[in-house]
């Protein structure tokens, strides 16, 4: 029948003309994480094109970095990915230590692993809760924040702040853990173990959740690599890359001796070190569901790392060591280091001319590249899928706009 239409010369009028309209989703839209504006070209339900507009949270942290010494810039790294500030501090500190060839003490190294992995759990909890919110269910968001509160209390005890810690700094950490902190941390981990199964029941294996995320926003590994995506977004497409194992020597040295599995689907199955729920049949590697599932696996993985870090930290006897002076001179040259932050690989590039104040500071944001893919993923999807896809990328605007 279709053939008939094409050959029939008399057919002149065309489809019921649906005029496309430009619709603004954001910047103050409830489902865009922070101030992101998505301009959708849609004819009512089918979205033919999405164009993200960013820059609403731009504070030009890099310009300020050219007027502050390395340690003075730490609070600015807190405010980039404010959901995982600890990992941001770690990234910047390691980059500076790489240029200064500075070696932190054994005790500080293990404490850094412990704190970074706790930060990862907290960030993934927010990612999971907010994603549930994007798909319309409100309760998981509150369960996630109930657990995150406990982590924030632990951080508050360690460094006095709940969101912008500036705890990990160049040359080690600003203070050692208070007595009894490790016991509280272990108590938190023990009670957190069964709660994870609750989240799986609530979201991961929930039929409606699977229906809303399976085979939506499918990203091929080549596309992910070409756009420079990283972290759970990359591993969700099946690319086996994790900076804690494949990164620069100074970063992987922190994690040597720790046993952990990279949460990625290798030859058809996810790591089986814990009892994870089965992968539903209608999901496709690289879709929203897999990105979400990788984050859930990483939470369990981080819990193992924290337990190992607690044992090693309490085992080593040496002093914690003092961080470098506030106005420590940085040797001339440049250094670039990417660390595995919860949202992806966060790179810090430092160019120094020998004085204490760096000549140029550059923060490469993982969400910046992850967000760039929305243009490709959201073509031809429904309006309700746009928040599902953007939510699965787990972006934070503070980090994108810097």
């Amino acid at each position: 029948m279709a053939q008939l239409i094409d050959d029939d010369p008399r057919i002149i009028e065309f489809d019921v003309r649906t005029d496309e309209m430009l619709v603004n989703m954001g910047p103050q839209h409830p489902s865009t994480h922070g101030v992101l504006r998505l301009v959708l070209r849609t004819d009512g339900e089918i979205v033919s094109e999405v164009e993200p507009h960013i820059g609403y949270l731009h504070r030009c942290a890099e310009k300020i970095g050219e007027n502050l010494t390395a340690r003075q810039w730490i609070p600015y790294t807190d405010r980039m990915d404010y959901l995982a500030a600890m990992n941001m501090n770690l990234g910047w500190s390691l980059a500076v230590e790489k240029l200064m060839q500075y070696q932190v003490s054994e005790r500080a190294r293990h404490l850094r692993v412990l704190i970074a992995e706790m930060g990862r759990i907290a960030s993934h909890l927010v990612g999971m809760g907010a994603y549930g919110l994007d798909l319309g269910t409100f309760s998981p968001f509150l369960y996630a924040f109930r657990e995150r509160e406990k982590i924030l209390d632990l951080f508050e005890e360690a460094c006095g702040a709940r969101l912008t810690y500036s705890y990990i700094t160049v040359g080690g950490l600003t203070a050692d853990l208070p007595p009894g902190w490790l016991r509280k941390c272990e108590e938190f981990l023990d009670q957190f173990e069964p709660v994870i199964q609750e989240y799986h029941a609530l979201l991961t294996t929930n039929a409606i959740f699977v229906k809303r995320t399976a085979a939506i926003g499918v990203m091929s590994p080549e596309l992910a690599i070409e756009y420079g995506c990283s972290g759970p977004v990359l591993r969700g497409s099946g690319v086996d890359q994790d900076m804690r194992r494949d990164g620069e020597s100074i970063y992987t040295a922190m994690y040597d001796g720790y046993a952990f599995e990279v949460a990625v689907m290798k030859n058809g199955h996810y790591p089986r070190d814990h009892a994870y729920p089965p992968v539903p049949s209608d999901t496709v590697i690289g879709d929203c569901w897999h990105r979400f599932f990788v984050r859930m696996l990483e939470v369990v993985q981080s819990m193992d790392l924290v337990r190992q870090a607690i044992d090693r930290y309490s085992a080593c006897k040496g002093p914690l060591g003092e961080p470098v002076k506030l106005t420590e001179k940085i040797p001339a040259g440049d250094a670039y280091l990417e660390t595995e932050c919860p949202k992806g690989q966060m790179g810090f590039y430092l160019v120094s001319d020998g004085s204490a104040i760096p000549w140029r500071v550059r923060a490469r944001s993982s969400s910046f590249s992850n967000l760039a893919v929305t243009h490709e993923l959201c073509r031809g999807c429904l309006i309700a899928d746009v928040p599902a896809i953007v939510g699965s990328l787990d972006i934070v605007m503070g980090e994108i706009d810097r």
Binding site: A2, I5, D6, P9, I11, I12, E13, F14, D15, V16, R17, T18, D19, E20, M21, L22, R41, D43, I46, S48, E49, E376, R379, G380
Partner: protein
């Protein structure tokens, strides 16, 4: 004693609520019908149509024909008019929102309307029972007789002594004819509205599709068909 006191206080003649409601519904129906014709905004026209048909449903209920009243509400107001408002709303973009009618059309339409009204009134007043409203009576409202009649058994007028089988056949045949007719109309409408792809894309479509690299085949069909109308495009 109480009644006399109150009776004296209330000089007004007994209000017969039945007639008051009847007049109310009739007034609303007619007023809205006129408003449909006179309104400019297309969506308001549709809204007035909804009001006038709901008023007619009220009239049916008032006349005790609950089944027909509910039928009117469900099928006509709830079904047809929802689709009508749907259609009107989707097309109520700039060009169609306000429809001005020139005065000559009004006069012409007025005359035709008046003629039609005259015919209707004249026909209405020749109906025998309506002359003497006093004796008009309404059977106990019951849906079952109507339902049975639709199935072909006229249970409401069984001639005494005549076996049920010989009862005049109900409205089965006309009912079936109407439904077939509706089916034909639906199929026709579906055929007319189906998507016809244009063989040579128009210039504006080419411009629209050149905006972003087109990936999926379905998307190609969409962009060649949908023209980029709204301003503020790239």
């Amino acid at each position: 004693m109480m009644t006399t006191v109150l009776a004296s206080v209330m000089p007004v003649a007994a209000i017969n609520w039945h007639s008051v409601l009847f007049l109310l519904f009739a007034a609303v129906a007619c007023a809205c019908a006129v408003a449909v014709v006179l309104a400019e905004n297309v969506v308001r026209m549709a809204f007035y149509l909804v009001l006038s048909l709901a008023a007619t449903a009220g009239l049916f209920f008032l006349a005790g024909a609950e089944f027909v009243g509910a039928m009117q509400l469900m099928i006509y107001v709830g079904g047809t008019l929802v689709l009508l408002v749907f259609g009107v709303m989707l097309t109520a973009q700039a060009p169609f929102v306000a429809i001005k009618t020139s005065s000559s059309d009004r006069v012409l339409a007025g005359m035709v309307g008046a003629a039609l009204l005259a015919v209707l009134l004249q026909a209405a007043f020749r109906v025998e029972p309506w002359r003497r409203p006093a004796t008009a009576a309404v059977a106990a409202p019951a849906a079952t007789p109507i339902g049975m009649a639709l199935l072909g058994v006229r249970a409401d007028e069984p001639a005494a002594g005549v076996p049920a089988a010989a009862v005049r056949s109900g409205y089965l045949l006309p009912f079936e004819i109407v439904s077939i007719h509706l089916l034909v109309v639906l199929v026709g409408a579906a055929y007319l509205a189906r998507a016809k792809r244009r063989r040579t894309p128009r210039a504006i479509d080419v411009a629209a599709s050149s905006v972003g690299p087109v990936v999926t085949a379905r998307q190609a069909a969409r962009s060649s068909a949908s023209a980029l109308v709204s301003g503020g495009g790239r």
